[in-house]
Every structure is written in structure tokens, then in C-alpha cells.
């Protein structure tokens, strides 16, 4: 079973890397990009076969290590 975790900065938290990407896009001539937020993508291969259990486990992983709950949000896709 595969879990895909997306980690993004919370709204309101300054994202200097996102700003740098936006600036670079702008200088390449891509107009109309109002904002860029960058984050992390983590893919996990899990031995667990029960989807609900896997989701609960990955949720625990996010809270304990993968995301910093002070500044980041996470979302989990399991398949």
C-alpha cells in the first residue's frame, strides 16, 4: 500500500522559497502567477493492507515527525 503525503506551509506563514520561485517565473516571462507556495512530497510504501489503519498510522507519522504542526499542514492520500 502506498501513502502520499503533501506537506505545505500554513496560510499566513511567509514562504521565502515560494517567493523566489515566483520571482524566477516572472523573470522567465510567465505573467499572471499571483503567488507560489512550495512544500514537500513524501511517498511511503507500507506493509499494512488495511486502508483505514494505514491512514491512521501515517497521520501519526505526520504529527510526530513528518510535519511541524507549528508552521505546516499535511494531507494524506492512500492507495
Amino acid at each position: 500500500m502506498k501513502a502520499r503525503v503533501h506537506i505545505t506551509l500554513k496560510n499566513g506563514v511567509l514562504d521565502p522559497q515560494g517567493k523566489a520561485i515566483q520571482h524566477a517565473l516572472d523573470s522567465l516571462g510567465f505573467d499572471g502567477v499571483d503567488d507560489v507556495r512550495q512544500g514537500k512530497y513524501i511517498e511511503l510504501d507500507l506493509a499494512e493492507t488495511d486502508k483505514a489503519t494505514a491512514e491512521a498510522n501515517v497521520e501519526e507519522m505526520c504529527k510526530k515527525l513528518l510535519a511541524n504542526m507549528v508552521i505546516e499542514n499535511y494531507s494524506i492520500d492512500i492507495e
Binding site: P16, Q17, A20, V70
Partner: protein
Amino acid sequence: MKSAVVTFPASNCNRDMFDALEKITGERPHEIWHQDTEIPNVDLIALPGGFSFGDYLRCGAMAARSPAIKAVAAHAERGGNVIGVCNGFQVLTEMGLLPGALMRNRSLKFVCKTVQLKVENADTTFTNAYSNGQVINIPVAHHDGNYFADDETLARLEDNGQIAFRYVNKAGEATADANPNGSQHNIAGIMNERGNVLGMMPHPERLIEDEQGGRDGRGFFESIINSLN
């Protein structure tokens, strides 16, 4: 004063911290490896600067989950003194011993220079050898020193006098130009509410004797010694 320095893979200021503590206290600190589960009974545990575990995932995140950290948390819980410098500060926030988080510098640049710090509260375990409002020179060297906390947390830090050091200009003003990393409220170092845990991005251990270009960092360690007497 008995002390211990915890080293993680890719810590690179552990030796500086070790030497500073040895020179100032006259006693050799205990060397603790991140896999050690016990730390001897000491007056101070120091988490040094560096790039623990390569700073993969987030700065300090993996160090904050290493075996030795449980002993650090237990020491803090008992009221023991803990300091974290640079990466050590990042570890303390990742552990939850200090509020907030340290993010990529606003400039996106690694900043390595000497900055001015204002001693915001000289009535603490870590600052009593300085005077209130004193401006000191301390080096910084970091990529992720941009202190972030929500408004409520910042207000609490301000109201409780938990901000130990702030980045200022030579005139002692906390301006945007004097802020090397974009930290909220120009915060360079904070303490927990109980006052026994301090984290700071600048490196006092790098400025303790004239050969290093100054002695302004010395007061930080002398404060801790004073507070034990």
C-alpha cells in the same frame, strides 16, 4: 559547573561548545552521543550548532527524536538548565521545549557575520552577567534562523520577559536592517516560561576569548555559573 554536550551526526559546533564550557567552568563537560540514553546529573546540558542529520526533512527534526533527547527532556522537566545554540535552538523548538519554529532565512541566504544583540532581560539564568539593554556582539552562521510563532505566542513571550536577546543595530534599535534572517520581533533567543531552557541562533561559544576577536559571549556562560551559586 558540571555540564554535558550532546553531539548528533553532523553537529559541527560541539567542539566549540565543549571548549568554551571547559575553559569557562574549569571542568570538562561530558560528551554525550545522540544514541546515549542516559546523561549524568549535570547543571547544564548544551545542544550545539551544526546540521544534525544533514537537516534532512527539517532542521533539528530528526535530532529531536533521537534517544539522548529523552534524557534532555527529563533533565528540563526536573528544572535542569538546557541551552540550544543554532541547530540546538532548532532542536529545542522541534522537541516542543520552546514554542515556535525556525524557518528558512527571509533572504534565502546563509548568513555568516557578527551581529549586535540587545540583552532584553538581564534577570535570567542565562543573562545575569549582562545588564538590561546592553548591546553585545555575537556571531551568527545559519540558513534557517527565521523565528516564527503565532501572534498569541509572541505576545506571551513579550509579556513574560521570555525574549532573552533581540537583533539590533549599533544604536540598540530593533530595525529590519539589523535583523539577519527575518525573525518575528527581531527575536534572536528565547526562554521557556520556567526560565531553565534557552535557545538562540547566535553563537556565544565563538566569542569567549580575545583570540576569537572578543569576549562578549563569555557573559552568557558566566551567567549560568552565577545562577548556580
